[in-house]
Amino acid sequence: MKNRLEALRKARGLRQEELAEALEVSRQTIGSLENGRYNPSILLAFKLSRYFGVPIEEIFIYEEEPS
């Protein structure tokens, strides 16, 4: 799943460590989310959504795989 996490974070001038601290997750989790290697739980997705003040759909882009 693609996401705009890195862009949102950089737009607010935050470092990965700072975002991780605010969300109470590890810095590695933020890195993995930004790289698209890890899909967050619904709880973390909501936390991110509330933190940035944007709907989840504006952070995570779900694209259906072509059948």
Binding site: A20, E21, E24, V25, S26, Q28, T29, S32, Y38, P40, S41, L43, L44
Partner: protein, 138 residues
């Protein structure tokens, strides 16, 4: 925090009691029992002491303790640990069945093969039980 401290102190005390009992009763008890008492006692005392020292470090540096807590509870780390545990459990289960076959080839005592097969079956049964339980819970 207080509960943990009490638990670790209890570990140290019980461990030292076991080790002392092993030394005091050395001539009165069998070597295997003495060894078991000494081994488990010193192990418990060492675990208790280490955990107590870690707890002390955490109290001295709350920021570091918070960071450690976040690392432990981090959802990605939890998922990684669970996946690693599940995979290593599966691999160990198959290694046990391979060991059972190898033991047959080496004319090992029957109990070795039986224990290996029982371990394999027990793990499979436990897995089925846990799947059914989680199906009900989730």
């Amino acid at each position: 925090m207080k509960g943990k401290k009490a638990l670790y102190i209890a570990f140290i005390v019980i461990g030292l009691c076991f080790a002392a009992a092993a030394l005091i009763l050395w001539d009165a008890i069998s070597n295997s029992l003495g060894g078991a008492l000494m081994g488990s006692g010193s192990g418990m005392a060492a675990i208790g002491l280490t955990q107590l020292l870690m707890l002390r470090l955490d109290t001295k540096d709350p920021a570091q303790a918070r960071k450690k807590e976040i690392e432990v509870n981090d959802e990605r780390n939890v998922a990684i640990r669970r996946r690693a545990k599940a995979l290593s459990g599966d691999m160990l289960q198959w290694a046990v069945i391979v060991a059972a076959w190898v033991s047959l080839g080496f004319d090992a005592p029957l109990w070795v093969t039986v224990v290996a097969i029982l371990t394999f079956v027990s793990k499979s049964v436990l897995e089925v039980y846990l799947v059914a339980r989680y199906q009900r819970e989730m």
